[in-house]
Symmetry: C2
């Protein structure tokens, strides 16, 4: 549908300066973001992305070495979006329960987020160059650092304890994204016993209490 033309009419057909190249890469990434939300991970195809971005497939490969690199770049953006949403929610003092709830809800709010995060493993291990991997790791580390800071303030914990808390909650929420197939299985009309089994792994019923136990443990100095 929308044939590019994001910012202004200032985009020439060929990106010759570094700034233009950066802008074009970002434009592709914006299209990729929207397309990903529609297609999901497995169905995300480079040919279709090219079509939607209004460029030839080969052009994509001038801006991204592989499909995985596109998804990795998407991941970096999504984590920063997560951070922003989380920090907004942190405004005002929260008790531990509200904190945990916010962490959970923020992760769930953007369906694309957990979809990408839960597949990082397959993405980064294969088919991303060392350089791009390092670059994205640094970006992720920086974003996390900001999250740690905000969390420390809200939780009134020393920085290292706050970082430990966030890392633990990240483990939990990722496990949740793997095992909790609730939403995806809803529509399959499963037998009662199978449904009960799936429900016993609903992330809400596991993430929240255990996240609280972890914070309690950290507060009490293990």
């Amino acid at each position: 549908m929308s044939t590019a033309a994001p910012t202004a009419s200032a985009m020439p057909r060929r990106a010759r300066t570094q700034a233009q190249k950066t802008a074009r890469r970002q434009a592709i990434l914006d299209v990729a973001d929207a397309y990903f939300r529609e297609s999901g991970f497995e169905a995300f195809s480079m040919a279709e992305l090219a079509k939607r971005a209004g460029v030839a497939k080969g052009t994509l490969y001038l801006y991204f070495e592989t499909r995985e690199e596109v998804l990795l770049a998407l991941y970096v953006e999504l984590l920063d979006d997560w951070r922003q949403a989380f920090c907004v929610g942190l405004a005002g003092a929260l008790d531990d329960e509200a904190f945990v709830r916010l962490f959970f809800d923020t992760s769930r709010a953007d369906p694309a987020f957990l979809t990408v995060v839960s597949r990082m493993d397959s993405v980064i291990e294969h088919n991303v160059s060392r350089e791009k991997l390092i670059e994205s790791k640094r970006a992720l580390a920086a974003t996390l650092e900001r999250i740690f800071d905000e969390a420390a303030g809200s939780l009134r914990l020393p920085p290292e304890k706050a970082a430990e808390t966030i890392r633990a909650l990240a483990f939990l929420v990722l496990g949740a994204s793997q095992l909790d197939k609730g939403p995806a299985l809803e529509e399959m009309n499963l037998p009662e016993d199978v449904r009960a089994f799936a429900t016993s792994f609903s992330s809400e019923s596991i993430f929240l209490p255990n996240a609280l136990r972890i914070i309690a443990g950290i507060r009490s100095g293990n």
Copy 2:
């Protein structure tokens, strides 16, 4: 290499009885297991599996509807292997720390285990029939039930508390399998800051203390 012939010379070229079909399916699955450990998830190809199993590709599809179904079947087997190893380790009374350590070590002992589990999401959501999904879910539920029982005995917790504990540890260990890219990144010779970032998510340093915090919380009645 080894061209089938698992049990005896009793395998005819065509599997006509139900027992023979089951045996052939299992033989393929055994080859798949070995091949998977060599190839990893992404590189696991049906054509290569057929070659190694000594059958035509079409034959695979008489025994498995899709590639994903093969991997799902593999998962069911791997979880039961995990259970066995875990239960062996549970012999004798363990304190909470040893229990957590055993859970962790057992998960790490078989590299194929976390590789498969951490991708179940992508596997089951797409491309497995409702029937096969139900079948495997039931098998997984049964295996987990046995794990719960054993854990309840070792932890001296009521069954429901033990189940809650295992589910929480499962979340943690899965999160770990996602975020802890330590081993995979070892060989990339990363810069120090990136390496430090990766190390901060090493599953050992996060899984163990937080698993203990969770158990402590459960013991104290939340």
